[in-house]
C-alpha cells in the first residue's frame, strides 16, 4: 500500500474511473443529484456566502473539480476554483429506522476519501435516545463521579463509486468500535499496517477528550483489531505553556475548572520523509478554537506521537481544518473561522491558507484572502523567545580566584522551537569573589529578542566565615571555644593576615573533629570541616 495513499487529497492516483469526464457528466451518469441531472452544474455560491462548518475538500485531479463536504447533509458542493461553489447536492439517504443505530439528526464532519478505487464517506452520527451514562451530582469528593450524561455517537462509514454518491452504509447496525464509546470526527489513515479510522473520543464521556485509532478491515466495513490511544486534549501544546493556557488577563493559577479538554477534527498528512503528521483542534485558553500539530516520526499510526510544543498554527476561534493540494500544486489548509467578521461574509466561514509541510511540522505561508474574502489570521510573529534561566546564584568560592560555576539555561521560541541562547559568561566560567551579572539574549526568526540576566554572588572567606558561625550556632554548643576560634579567624582575615587565619582554622578543624558525634552531629561536623577546608583554600593557605 502506497504511503502517499494516506488521504485522498494528497493522493496522486487516477481519480475517477470516469476519468476525463466532467463533474456534470459524472453527476448525470450516476443519476443521484436531480438538480444536476436536469441541468448543467453552475457555481452560483461564493465561498464567503456559505457555512464553512467542518469543511473538507476532496480535490479530484481527473476532473479538476473540488468536492466539499461539511457538517450537515450529507451533501456535496462542487467548485473549479475554490471560490465559486455549486448548490449542495444530497449524497445519502437514511436507511429505515429499524435498520440503523443512529437517528435522523444531521451528521457532523462529513468527509470523503478515495481508497481502493472507491469513495468512502465518514460521517459522525448520533442517537440521544440511547443513553450510555447519566450525570451524577458530586456533592462529596468523588474522582469517579460521572460529569456528563452520555449518549450514542460515532462515525459511520459508507461507500460509493463516485464522490457524489449515492453512499451506502457499510454497517448501519452498529459503530465500528465498541458501541459504548461516544466518539466523533472519524477519518481514514493508511499506514504500513493498513487502513485505520482515527477518531476523537468525546470530552463529554472522557472529560479529557482523546484521539484514538482503530484498525479496519481492508474494505473498511469492520474493526480489524483493538483501538489504540494517540493522545488527549490535555496534550495540546498551549495547555503546557502557562501564558497560553488561560484567556488574556486571567491569572495562570485560577479557580476555573480548566475542563473540558476537547479533541476535534483530526486530519493527517505525510511529510517529505514519510512521517505522519496530525493536525487537530482543542479549543480554549488564549487561542479559543485552534489547530495544533503532532508528529509520528515512525510514520506509523501507532507513533510514538510527539506533540509539537509550538504556538497553535491556526487560532483565534479557527480550526477543524483539512489539508489538500490544489490543482496548481499548492498544499492548502482550509479551516473554519467560527466567528468571521469584517470580510465579505460573516459567521462560520472557510478560510484558505497556503502551507508548507515539513518534517518538523506545518508552516503557514500566507493567507489567501483573494480566495476566501476574509480578513484572516494575523501571521505576524510578535512573541519573543521564552528564556529559562537559573535563579540568582549564591556560591562559595573554592579558591582565591573564586569558583568555576556551571549552570544550565535555555531558550525556546513559541513559533520556531528551540533557539540559540547567547550569554556574557558561559557555563564553566570562573567567577571572581563578589558580584557578577550574567546577561542572556535570544532572537527568533522574526527578529523578536528576549533578554534577561541573573546575579552571581561568589562568597569570599569573610562571608563564608559568617556562614560558618551561623552553622555552629545552629547546634547551640555550650562550649564557646568553637565560636572563639572562628572570631579569631575572622579578625585575621579582616587584617589580611591569611596565614594566621589558616592556622586558626586548622586548629578549629581538629577541634570540630574531636566533637563529631558529641557537640555536633557527625553530619554537621562533616559539613563544618568541609567548609573550613574550603575557606583555607580561598585564603590561599593549606590545612
Amino acid at each position: 500500500m502506497a504511503r502517499d495513499g494516506t488521504t485522498s487529497p494528497v493522493s496522486r492516483r487516477t481519480f475517477l474511473r470516469l476519468g476525463g469526464t466532467t463533474a456534470v457528466a459524472a453527476a448525470t451518469q450516476l443519476g443521484i443529484a436531480t438538480k444536476a441531472r436536469a441541468q448543467e452544474v453552475t457555481f452560483p455560491h461564493k465561498v464567503w456566502d456559505i457555512s464553512g462548518q467542518d469543511a473538507f475538500i476532496l480535490a479530484d485531479e481527473a476532473t479538476r473539480t473540488y468536492y466539499r463536504y461539511t457538517t450537515g447533509g450529507p451533501t456535496v458542493r462542487l467548485s473549479r476554483n475554490l471560490v465559486d461553489w455549486s448548490d449542495a447536492f444530497p449524497i445519502w439517504s437514511n436507511p429505515p429506522e429499524d435498520e440503523r443505530w443512529f437517528s435522523t439528526a444531521f451528521p457532523w464532519a462529513c468527509e470523503v476519501h478515495h481508497y481502493n478505487r472507491r469513495y468512502y464517506l465518514f460521517q459522525t452520527r448520533h442517537n440521544s435516545d440511547v443513553t450510555l451514562a447519566l450525570s451524577e451530582l458530586a456533592t462529596t469528593r468523588d474522582p469517579f463521579s460521572v460529569w456528563h450524561s452520555q449518549w450514542a455517537r460515532a462515525t459511520m462509514i459508507a461507500v460509493a463509486d463516485s464522490p457524489m454518491g449515492p453512499f451506502v452504509g457499510l454497517d448501519n447496525t452498529r459503530p465500528v468500535h465498541d458501541s459504548r464509546f461516544m466518539t466523533l470526527d472519524g477519518t481514514l489513515v493508511i499506514d504500513d499496517e493498513g487502513p485505520w479510522m482515527v477518531y476523537c473520543h468525546e470530552w463529554i464521556q472522557k472529560m479529557d477528550g482523546t484521539i484514538e485509532a482503530i484498525p479496519l478491515t481492508d474494505d473498511l466495513s469492520a474493526a480489524a483489531g483493538d483501538p489504540i490511544l494517540i493522545c488527549r486534549g490535555s496534550d495540546a501544546s498551549w495547555r503546557n505553556r502557562p501564558e497560553g493556557s488561560v484567556p488574556a488577563g486571567t491569572p495562570v493559577i485560577n479557580s476555573d475548572q480548566g475542563m473540558p479538554c476537547v479533541t476535534d477534527g483530526c486530519q493527517f498528512v505525510r511529510t517529505p520523509s514519510g512521517y505522519l503528521l496530525m493536525i487537530w483542534s482543542s479549543p480554549g485558553g488564549v487561542y479559543s478554537y485552534n489547530e495544533v500539530q503532532s508528529i509520528s516520526r515512525s510514520g506509523s499510526v501507532r507513533g510514538p506521537w510527539e506533540h509539537l510544543h509550538r504556538e497553535p498554527l491556526i487560532h483565534g476561534n479557527r480550526g477543524h481544518g483539512h489539508i489538500f493540494r490544489t490543482f496548481e500544486g499548492q498544499d492548502m489548509l482550509v479551516v473554519m473561522n467560527r466567528s468571521a467578521t469584517g470580510g465579505l461574509g460573516s459567521g462560520v466561514r472557510s478560510e484558505y491558507y497556503e502551507v508548507e509541510i515539513t518534517d518538523e511540522g506545518i508552516k503557514i505561508l500566507r493567507h489567501r484572502d483573494d480566495l476566501d474574502g476574509q480578513l484572516g489570521m494575523d501571521l505576524t510573529d510578535t512573541t519573543a523567545p521564552d528564556l529559562f534561566l537559573p535563579p540568582n546564584q549564591v556560591v562559595d568560592a573554592t579558591g582565591p580566584d573564586g569558583v568555576r560555576l556551571t549552570y544550565e539555561a535555555m531558550a525556546h521560541d513559541w513559533r520556531d522551537g528551540p533557539v540559540e541562547l547567547t550569554t556574557s559568561h558561559a557555563s564553566g566560567t570562573v567567577f571572581p569573589i563578589g558580584h557578577t551579572t550574567i546577561s542572556f539574549s535570544a532572537q527568533d526568526r522574526a527578529g523578536n529578542v528576549a533578554t534577561g540576566s541573573i546575579d552571581v554572588h561568589v562568597k569570599g572567606a569573610a562571608e563564608q566565615l559568617d556562614d560558618q558561625v551561623d552553622l555552629v550556632n545552629s547546634a547551640r554548643p555550650t562550649n564557646p571555644s568553637f565560636l572563639q576560634q572562628l572570631r579569631l579567624a575572622q579578625a585575621f582575615v579582616a587584617e589580611g593576615r591569611n596565614a594566621q587565619a589558616c592556622k586558626v582554622l586548622s586548629a578549629y578543624i581538629q577541634h570540630v573533629r574531636a566533637h563529631a558525634g558529641k557537640t555536633f552531629s557527625v553530619s554537621l561536623a562533616h559539613d563544618l570541616v568541609a567548609n573550613a577546608r574550603r575557606i583555607i583554600d580561598v585564603l590561599g593557605g593549606s590545612a
Binding site: 440521544s128 450510555l132 451514562a133 447519566l134 450525570s135 451524577e136 451530582l137 458530586a138 456533592t139 469528593r141 474522582p143 463521579s145 460529569w147 456528563h148 450524561s149 452520555q150 449518549w151 465498541d178 459504548r180 464509546f181 463529554i204 464521556q205 472522557k206 472529560m207 479529557d208 482523546t210 484514538e212 483501538p227 490511544l229 488527549r232 490535555s234 496534550d235 495547555r239 502557562p242 491569572p251 495562570v252 493559577i253 485560577n254 479557580s255 476555573d256 475548572q257 480548566g258 475542563m259 479538554c261 476537547v262 529559562f388 537559573p390 535563579p391 540568582n392 546564584q393 556551571t406 544550565e408 539555561a409 535555555m410 546575579d455 545552629s474 552531629s521 557527625v522 553530619s523 554537621l524
Partner: protein, 338 residues
Amino acid sequence: MARTTYPLRFSDIPVREPFILVDQATQTYFLYVESDTPQGGEPGSGTIVYQSKDLRWWSTPTTVYRVPHTGWADPTGGARSPAVHLYGGRYYLITTQQNPSTVIAAAQRAPGPGGYDGDSVWQHQTARASVIAVADSPLGPFVDLNLETPLTDPSLMTLDGSLHVDPDGTPWLVFAQDWAQKPDAPMAAVRLTSDLSRAAAPPIWLFKGKSAPWYDDPVTGAPPGRSLVNDLQGPPYATEAPRVYRTPGRRLVMLWSSYRRHFTEYVQTQALSRTGNIAGPWEQLEPFVTGNKGHGMVFKTFDGRLMLILHTHHHDPSASRAGLVEIDLTDEGVKVLE
C-alpha cells in the same frame, strides 16, 4: 519538665503524610503528623510531634499546634500535610486547612442526554489552603501568622504547601491545586514576603498533573484490567505533596505524589528542574516508590545518610505507617539505595 522517654517503635506509630525536621541543636528528629487535638472538651484539629534520637525509638506525641477557632478555617476540619522548616532562625509549620461550609462552587448536574455544558461544575468545591504558623522551638507552640486569609487566594483550593528558598534567600510556597477544582491539577509556587506571612506576588505555574509519565502507559495509565482505550471517564490528574531539594549540581528535584491505574494506585514520583529555578522547566521522571506509598520528604540523618520518609497503605489510613528508604540525591533525581 519530665525527661523525654522513647517507648514507641516506629511501627507502633500510625502515620499519614509524615514530615521530619532534623534539629542540630538538640540532635533530635521531630516527626510531625496531623492529629485530633480536643481543646477544652471541644473537638479540634492540630499537629502533634514525636521525637527520636535514632529513628528507631520514639517518644509519645506532644501537641504543638491547634487550628484556631478565630480564623477562616474550620477548627475541626483538619490540619493535613504538616511541613516544618527552619528559616531565619525560627520554625515555621505549614498545614493544609479547610472549611467545608465555605462553598467556592457548588457541584452541578449537567444537562443531557442530548445536551451538555462544558462549564458545569464537576465537584463540590469548598475552602481549602495552606496556613503558616511560627514558633521559636520545634516543640511549638506554633502561632498562626495570618488568621484572616490562607497563603493562597481564597478562591483557590490548594493543598500540601511546603517552603522552598532560592539560593539568594527568596522564599516560596510550593503547593498543589486540588483536582476537585482543577481536574488537570497544576503544581504551583508563590513568592512569599520575607516574614512568610503572605504572598508577595501572584502564583506561578510549574507543571500539571497530566505531565506525569504514566498516563499513556498501557498498564499503569489504564484502569485495572482494562485497556487504555475505554468508555470510562478519565481520572482527574492529581498533584500532591511537593517537596523541593537542591542537587549537588544546583538543579532542583521535586518529590510529588499522585495516582496511577485510573486513580487506584498512589505513587511517589519526581521532577527535575535543570536550571535550578523553581519556575522550571520541569522534566518529569519515573515514579520511584509505587504500591500505594507516597507523600514523601527527604532528610539527612545525624550520621549523614539521606533518607526518604513516606506513608504506606494510602487507601487504608488506619493501617498507614511511615516507611523509611535510604536514597541518594543526584543531579538526575532521587535514587533509592538497595
